[in-house]
């Protein structure tokens, strides 16, 4: 536990959750705490956040920890809120908060921080040692308050911490600017003014706010960047966000299933703000979140009238205060986002919104700060922002612009969200499964690896069928080595050519800028063009040729003078395809080769957990792979013997289970890499349910999907299901929210029947 929160006497003051419940921002909290160290006296820390990334609780937690440390650092936390309509009122509120928190710390009385007190009350509460300077401060304020110099008043209020006499503590000012509006009414631009006061030295402070706003304001205020540190607050990782959902749901007493929690993490892209708001709504409406339907119903409710709705309404009102313009803006934003070409000119926007260039500049600046558009001064790119924003925009467009019936829009929004949920999760699972590709390539750093790992034909000839240990030792002994280049930049192909989006998923088609031997010269520069192909069998020559030509064309268009094509396919390439790759000097690897390469340049994760069952129902969980289907099969055999199944029937059950396990392992992109097996004994039957989390295999739905295989080959790989259906008496697929469940029943029959 962090210093400052470990004491039994720890007092929660501003934090809304207990330190143990604060998850997901551990490193950032440590950075803020470290900023309070004497070495950082006089320095500023800018916390640059993505919209909806959440920062307020982080600062409140830091406040509590510093307060509880009871050393010379006095924490001051102030949040700029939307309630303050002018820079002057915000600055006055800051002055009040500062004095209140200073006195609370000096008196070691946390409740003073939260009390409602006037300046006069505070003066009376000030310790005798502080009374004189506090009194002077209050008097000076009273004089300035009624002058007509707003700018001087704002600077006076914000600069108040500098008036603390030496030896009375060192303030750490933490400013929560997540809602900081630099376009508050009045003549003083608050964001700039805050940075003008704090950013020119003398203060130890932390300022958190929207990344596009804070950085611009720091430049505007001519801050001394030598005295500023930057920390970027990105969205939480899936793991952190998952933990957050779990903690918040527990705190809010909202019942959730694991599948629902995972969906929320993905749907809200790990945004603490959205996650907290959503779970708060669930608590308020007493809704349990056990299924995708539960989640999406609440989500749609939220879009139409809950926390999410209010959040976007506030933002839109701030962005465009005039109702008429707002109406046009919703129309323009949605039509631009939904259209094919999302980029349009400033002039087009001005004409569509019927406003002056100056007004449009303000609107675009605000949209840009919230990252609802990308505006570079001349052109505007729409279609950005979180999914919730896009959904909100669409509903407003249909209701306000098209005037469609509310019931229809609600029903469509719910149907769309439900249809999207499995795809959202499938994309996530595939990303987890494929993440190694990006990681592997980013780790290329002049290591030497067996060259055969990039040559499927040779690998297949020399190593296919070898035991893993033998394969590893033979590879170690392989004398033909290839020196990997050093990767200096890695991005999705889509980032270079948006047309690629129609052909491949972002993470499966990459462009890596590399240098051979780590030498940065033209001669050593090689661009790797990498595609991970979707295929259940060896990729054939037509597919391989299409990809090689696609990459050659891309390299030509982008001016890559030296490039290396590398195709990866689960099962490698046919002989024809391998010959073609060799002729075109392209690399080709199977998934197995990729894993071997990964093992040589990084550590791969390992999974394994087994649970046991109870009564006449047995639950077995086995990790995927490593012939673990045999464990399931022998368990089934032992259980089936209790029902006097004939040996042939037991064999049939075993084979069906083996096939079901293989199917689950091969097709699910399972996030936990586990197969859940439930065996239920009834008087005349054995019911086996095999389930796994992850993607629903396309062949279960009867859809063909996109795959680069022939029909005959597809059919061959569909044998597993065919066998299961033939060997068992009843087979039923149940599509669950988060994967599939295969229920198989075998009846006991006497020999005569």
């Amino acid at each position: 536990m962090n210093r400052g929160s470990s004491s039994e006497n720890f007092r929660r003051i501003l934090g809304r959750v207990a330190p143990s419940d604060f998850v997901g921002r551990t490193d950032e909290l440590a950075a803020v705490m470290a900023h309070a160290a004497p070495d950082n006296a006089g320095r500023g820390l800018l916390l640059l956040m993505e919209p909806s990334a959440g920062v307020s609780e982080l600062l409140r937690q830091a406040y509590d920890r510093i307060f509880n440390q009871r050393n010379e650092v006095i924490p001051i936390y102030f949040a700029f809120t939307r309630n303050e309509t002018t820079a002057v009122s915000a600055a006055i509120e800051f002055l009040n908060t500062f004095l209140q928190q200073y006195i609370a710390f000096r008196r070691n009385e946390p409740f003073v921080s939260n009390a409602t007190l006037t300046l006069q009350d505070l003066l009376e509460l000030a310790l005798p040692a502080d009374h004189e300077w506090v009194e002077q401060l209050v008097e000076s304020y009273a004089r300035l308050r009624f002058s007509n110099d707003d700018k001087a008043l704002v600077r006076f209020c914000l600069g108040a911490p500098q008036r603390i006499p030496a030896g009375r503590g060192r303030p750490l000012i933490m400013l929560d600017g997540a809602q900081l509006a630099d376009y508050l009414n009045g003549v003083v631009v608050l964001g700039t003014e805050v940075l003008r006061v704090f950013g020119r030295g003398g203060f130890t402070f932390v300022l958190a706010g929207l990344r596009r706003q804070i950085l611009a304001a720091a430049h505007e205020a001519e801050c001394n960047f030598e005295l500023l540190d930057l920390l970027r607050l990105k969205r939480l990782s899936a793991k952190e966000a998952s933990l957050l959902v779990e903690h918040v749901a527990q705190r809010q007493h909202v019942v959730t299933s694991e599948a629902a929690r995972d969906l929320l993490v993905q749907q809200f892209a790990g945004s603490p703000f959205f996650i907290n708001s959503f779970l708060q709504a669930a608590r308020e409406k007493r809704v349990a979140l056990n299924s995708y339907l539960d989640c999406e119903r609440l989500y749609v409710d939220e879009l139409f009238g809950g926390h999410l709705h209010r959040h976007f309404v506030y933002l839109l009102e701030e962005i465009s205060p005039r109702l008429e313009t707002r109406h046009l803006l919703i129309r323009l934003l949605w039509e631009a986002a939904a259209g094919e070409d999302q980029v349009s000119s400033f002039e087009v926007w001005r004409k569509r919104l019927h406003i002056t260039a100056g007004e449009l500049q303000e609107v675009l600046h605000r949209l840009h700060v919230q990252e609802f558009v990308n505006w570079d001064g001349t052109s505007v790119e729409a279609g950005t922002g979180p999914q919730a924003w896009k959904d909100y925009l669409k509903t407003r467009y249909r209701l306000d612009v098209l005037g469609e019936p509310r019931a229809l829009v609600v029903a469509d929004a719910l149907a769309d969200a439900l249809k999207r949920a499995p795809h959202t999760m499938a994309r996530h699972y595939k990303q987890i499964a494929r993440i190694s590709l990006r990681e592997i390539i980013s780790r290329f750093n002049t290591q030497r690896v067996p060259a055969v790992l990039f040559d499927y034909a040779t690998f297949s000839r020399k190593y296919k069928g070898l035991e893993p240990e033998r394969l590893a030792s033979d590879l170690d002994a392989d004398t033909e080595q290839f020196k990997l280049p050093q990767t200096v930049h890695l991005a999705s192909c889509v980032a270079f050519n948006s047309d690629m989006r129609q052909i491949s998923e972002d993470e499966r088609c990459l462009v890596a800028h590399t240098f051979e031997d780590g030498i940065y010269s033209d001669a050593q520069e090689v661009v790797w063009l990498i595609a991970d192909l979707e295929s259940k069998l060896e990729v054939d020559i037509e597919v391989a040729r299409a990809w090689v030509e696609r990459f050659e064309s891309l390299a030509g268009r982008l001016g890559f003078s030296r490039f290396q094509v590398w195709l990866i396919s689960n099962e490698g390439f046919t002989e024809d395809a391998s010959r073609l790759l060799a002729r075109r000097k392209a690399f080709g690897s199977s998934r197995r080769q990729l894993e071997l390469l990964a093992a040589r340049i990084s550590e791969m994760p390992v999974n394994s957990v087994v649970h046991t069952g109870e009564a006449n129902e047995f639950l077995v969980v086995v990790p995927m792979g490593e012939d673990n289907e045999l464990i399931a099969a022998s368990t089934a055999e032992q259980i089936a013997k209790r029902l006097t199944f004939r040996p042939e029937a037991i064999n049939q059950i075993k084979t069906a289970i083996v096939e079901a396990c293989i199917n689950a392992s091969e097709h699910s992109f399972s996030p936990d890499r586990k197969i859940y097996q439930r065996f239920r004994l009834e008087s005349d039957r054995l019911v086996v349910t095999i389930s796994s989390r992850g993607v629903v295999p396309t062949n279960l739905n009867g859809a063909s999907g996109h795959s680069d295989t022939t029909e005959a080959a597809e059919e061959r790989r569909g044998w597993g299901l065919k066998l299961i259906r033939t060997l068992m008496d009843e087979v039923e697929f149940e599509r669950v929210d988060d994967g599939t469940s295969l229920r198989m029943t075998k009846y006991v029959r006497d020999t005569a029947s």
Binding site: D627, E659, W719
Partner: protein, 126 residues
Amino acid sequence: MDKPNAPLVRSHCVGTTAVVYASDYLNRLTGEKIERECRRQLDCGCRALVIDFSDTKLVNSIGISILLGIIDVAEKCGARIVFSEVNNQTVQLFEMLGLTRHVALAKDESEALLTLSGFETTPIVH
């Protein structure tokens, strides 16, 4: 650890016929081992293959898919192929998946060799 050139599965030659023994569980890995050994034998000049399943208790669809690949390879080389001592359960699976249309089944290794004897050519040593 295996010697570098040791075969991955048990096998022996009778004239120009290679007999390859499948293990107790025919899956991807063991199927690939059989495939590799069959290819090796064909490369060495064998004109016929017997795959013996006397130890095989369980097979899966991937293993069967690999067997079909071996049958294709043998056909391309003009080699005959016979499966011997396949248990009833496995025969059922082969029938379900149409494998028995492409390959002869024999009761045991002797019967398999007898079936193939008509195709015997000049013996080779390897």
